[in-house]
């Protein structure tokens, strides 16, 4: 339980800066993602039609290591930003500790698998 009822509880729970660091991370990553993601959407969806993102076009684009890096940065930052954002929601809405534990476990696992899939996919070309 994360509930602090007395100062002693509070002190015991306040040994780490994890929440502060995540809070700062959300802002920094958010700021970077604003440019990366809006750029990505513009280039792949607005400037050209989504249907132009054919296999050939995607493979051709990803031959360039710069795009590879660009996309992987989006992948990694969005993953962390999104998963942490979802963690906030889970911690807000899932109140019982056991439920929270397994919801988080399943969610983190799924995300880790997808992240691996994406990374491998990106670099396998």
């Amino acid at each position: 339980m994360i509930r602090a009822r007395t100062f002693t509880d509070a002190r015991q729970q306040s040994h780490s800066n994890a929440e502060l660091n995540w809070w700062i991370f959300m802002r920094i990553s958010g700021l970077i993602l604003v440019f990366l993601v809006l750029g990505h959407i513009y280039m792949t969806f607005i400037q050209v039609s989504e249907s132009d993102a054919t296999y050939t076009a995607v493979v051709a684009k990803l031959q360039n290591p710069a795009w590879k890096f660009y996309d992987w940065t989006i992948l990694a930052l969005t993953m962390l930003h999104g998963v942490n954002g979802a963690r906030y929601s889970i911690e807000d809405y899932v109140r019982s500790r056991p439920n929270r534990a397994w919801v988080k476990t399943i969610f983190y696992t799924v995300c880790a698998v997808i992240f691996t899939l994406g990374t491998v996919g990106l670099f396998s070309i």
């Binding site: 009822r5 002190r11 729970q13 306040s14 994890a18 929440e19 809070w23």
Partner: protein, 250 residues
């Protein structure tokens, strides 16, 4: 027996007719809360508390709610009036309902309803106690006062204004779903000491604010600031505490 209908206040304009719709709950007989409506005749300048008292005194004596000072200083009568948290004694009828209209009154959210509009305040005060809500300065005091410039005194002018009515904490969407969050009121109280130039426990309080149940749970929904009957800029205060934690750890 006195007359059945006693207008609250008969001295100025003609009264207005209002349906007061109250979410009622009696733990000894009810399984769930239910709405009851009481037609009332009152002045536009009457307080919502006057209307509730009228219903209690002359219509439905079992109606239960807390109240004391009647002018917004004790913080007893926080409730959800017309969909927003307010003090019943600090809202005039004319500001929340039109003649012939319906006024809804519900208990504040996120705390267990004990009876009608009365909730269990203990979790709220527990959060308050968790932030070490007392002045700490162990160095021997001078013979006179500890000096403090008017500018430094001004820094706590807002946060020391809190009356612990719980309007803010129980308007917070995070607190509704998870009572583990200390809540705006406790953070405002912490701010009052963190920004007191005479206090020596700033570091400890910032540590409490830095935990999972502290300031980082604030998602800046501003309901607290809108709800505060003392016009404390609560979100500003919470943001100040967030920055103070950040600079301390930096």
């Amino acid at each position: 027996m006195a007359e059945q209908h006693i207008p609250l206040d008969t001295h100025t304009t003609p009264p207005m007719r209002v349906n007061v719709k109250i979410l009622r709950f009696n733990p000894e007989t009810d399984k769930k809360p239910h709405w009851e409506t009481y037609p009332v005749e009152a002045q536009a300048s009457d307080r919502v508390l006057d209307v509730l008292n009228y219903v209690k005194w002359y219509v439905e004596p079992t109606l239960t709610f807390r109240r004391s000072c009647g002018h917004g200083i004790c913080g007893s009568d926080a409730m959800m009036i017309a969909g927003r948290n307010r003090l019943a004694c600090k809202v005039l009828l004319r500001d929340v309902v039109k003649d012939g209209g319906t006024l809804t009154v519900e208990p504040i959210r996120g705390l267990k309803v004990e009876k009608d509009l009365l909730v269990d305040m203990d979790p709220f005060f527990d959060s308050y106690r968790a932030i070490m809500p007392y002045f700490i300065n162990e160095s021997p005091p001078p013979a006179g006062e500890r000096l403090q410039s008017p500018e430094l005194a001004e820094r706590m002018a807002h946060s020391s204004n809190c009356i612990l009515c719980a309007c803010c904490t129980t308007s917070c969407p995070i607190f509704w779903v998870n009572g583990a969050y200390l809540g705006p009121a406790a953070i405002v109280q912490a701010h009052r000491f963190i920004f007191d130039s005479r206090d020596e426990a700033t570091h400890q309080r910032l540590n409490i604010m830095n935990q999972n149940t502290g300031v980082w749970r604030c998602r800046t929904a501003y309901n607290c600031t809108e709800a505060c009957p003392r016009d404390i800029p609560i979100t500003t205060i919470i943001e100040e505490v967030k920055r103070a934690v950040m600079y301390q750890q930096a």
